[in-house]
């Protein structure tokens, strides 16, 4: 495949940091696949300006600290300046000082709690205004306004719930219970939670549980005989990958808000899904994390083609304002915040482990990581 002239050109080396072992591997493995899938596609098309993309890959094993150490190794030993990686906010915050001090560029393909805009990060997952807002309105309209919050005990769930609580209360809803479980929580730890939910009878369970805990929560819910038609678990993080891990029957009827589901209509997505399944197997679904990991590589490739250097300052300037026809629809990197204009969608899991799209934005939603444009009418007490 490699032409002789291309062999004479040194490849572009990039870093890849996703956990393929440990309690976060269910979802991070899919981000790894999305990343590698895009790299293969780019190299098959001749690389970038005739130069091949070579990933330098480490597996931080779901340990946040390890992300920081591998980022250090990538930048000072492997001489890599552009890194694709991180799912949890704790791992992003571990990588942040390294890329900020050594002027690297982290591409972060995960939804998160907002309130950050580092000049050394490109954020391609949803900010709260791109998922929480629409999800909250949908849930209140459809199920009621008494919410129960359950989350893993780390930065993202607590910060995300702070935002959700605010949105909820400004719209006249209330939080009837709030629990956080260790990120390494075991199956039996979820039983008291489900019992409390049965007692409190909220209208909606809003979950920010991530990792293996997701599977335990939904399974405990099913075993206790609760009914998703009247009291669903709503989430911003439960994708096709977690549904597959918990069992399609367990996931059925629950709600997720995301920029992308495998079931998104359109030719671009149909081609993407078909190619992905051909590569990873028919029972492998795409999901929002696969998709963002995939399209951010293409955004990067486009920018690198113009910049023709991995120098962070030059490359970043080319990325800002860039547009790409992603499987979810057109996406654009916002020059001010380094976040991405994304689509907002509400999905309900069906019995095939796919999400039926119940609602979606009419166009991409502009990211507002600091929630500046939202909630000026304070607490509703002025009206």
């Amino acid at each position: 495949m490699l032409s002789s002239s291309r062999k004479t050109l040194a490849p572009w080396r990039i870093g890849v940091l996703f956990s393929r072992t440990g309690f976060m591997s269910v979802i991070e493995e899919t981000q790894y696949h999305g990343t590698m899938f895009a790299i293969e596609e780019i190299n098959a098309a001749g690389g970038i300006n005739g130069r091949e993309l070579i990933p330098v890959i480490y597996d931080p094993g779901s340990e946040a600290m390890a992300f920081g150490h591998f980022a250090k190794r990538l930048m000072i030993e492997d001489n890599v300046s552009t890194i694709f990686g991180c799912y949890t906010s704790s791992s992003r915050k571990a990588v942040l000082p390294v890329v900020e001090r050594l002027n690297g560029l982290l591409w972060y393909p995960t939804l998160y709690e907002g309130f950050e805009a580092s000049p050394n990060v490109i954020y391609t997952g949803a900010a709260p205004n791109q998922n929480s807002l629409a999800l909250c309105r949908f849930l209140m309209r459809t199920y009621g306004n008494r919410f129960y919050f359950i989350g893993s005990d780390y930065i993202y769930p607590r910060e995300s719930n702070r935002v959700m609580r605010e949105i909820l209360k400004e719209n006249g809803g209330s939080v009837v219970g709030e629990r956080y479980l260790n990120i390494r929580a075991r199956r039996q730890d979820f039983l008291p939670i489900v019992n409390e939910i049965r007692r409190l009878q909220p209208d909606v369970i809003f979950s920010t549980v991530v990792g293996d805990g997701t599977v335990f929560l939904y399974q405990a819910y099913t075993e206790s005989g609760l009914d998703p038609r009247t009291m669903p678990i709503a989430s911003l993080t439960t994708t096709e990958a977690e549904i597959r891990a918990m069992g399609f029957d367990v996931g059925e009827g629950h709600i997720t808000a995301a920029p992308y589901f495998e079931g998104v209509a359109g030719d671009a997505n149909a081609a993407f899904v078909a190619k992905f399944k051909k590569r990873f197997g028919d029972d492998c679904s795409t999901n929002m994390c696969v998709e963002s990991s995939y399209f951010q590589l293409h955004l990067f490739a486009k920018a690198l083609e113009h910049a023709n250097t991995l120098d962070t300052d030059v490359l970043r300037a080319m990325v800002l304002g860039a547009t790409f026809d992603a499987p979810q629809g057109q996406v654009t990197v916002d020059p001010l915040s380094g976040h991405t204009d994304l689509w907002t969608r509400i999905g309900r899991a069906d019995r095939r482990g796919q999400f039926e799209i119940l609602d979606q934005s009419v166009s991409p939603v502009h990211p507002d990581p600091f929630l500046i444009g939202y909630g000026r009418a304070m607490a509703g007490v002025e009206s």
Partner: protein, 214 residues
Amino acid sequence: MNDLSKPKVKIESVVGDHKSVVQELNGLTVVVVAPLDDQIAFLVRELQRLRIRARQTWPMPETIPGDADVVYCEYASDLARRLPWIPGDARSALVVILPNGDPIQVEALAHATPDAVLSRPFSGNAVVASLVLARSQFRYEQRLRTKIERLDENLRSMRTVERAKAILMTTRRMAENEAYSFIRRQAMDRRVSTSVVAAAIVDSFELLGYDQQH
């Protein structure tokens, strides 16, 4: 080497109603990671003259000690890897000792992110300058990092404070600045942050069950 053993530099410092720059160095701990030759002996003596607790170690350990205020470390092409912290999260000020003559890899030096460098051969002036600059740069960076952390936290809590202010303005018929001073006064009396008071106001408002729509 005689000129090295008798330092000619007299360290001048203006003493006013605050500690002079030299007084601030008093009692600092320094680790010198370098082979003990005449030059390094001179460096250690100069440091001790500044009332600094200095200790020397060699060969270069796999992991550089991270428990001193300042580390003086011989340049090595893999120095960054041996540092006990990740870049951007340094715990000591770092001065890299440059070799006399041998070319260095500038990338390797940049990756170690030193706060100052000291070139061989040393002079008394160069030693004190490297120490003062390293401390000053390192502490300035730390202050900036703390400031950013606080700004981040304020940014998050701002929305809660705004909500609390609106609640006070409506339920207590306070003017805007009155509401804010109320929150601040409560925070000072209770020795907690304004965001903690604001969160308590918002929570109790909700607990008391005011109609959100009124």
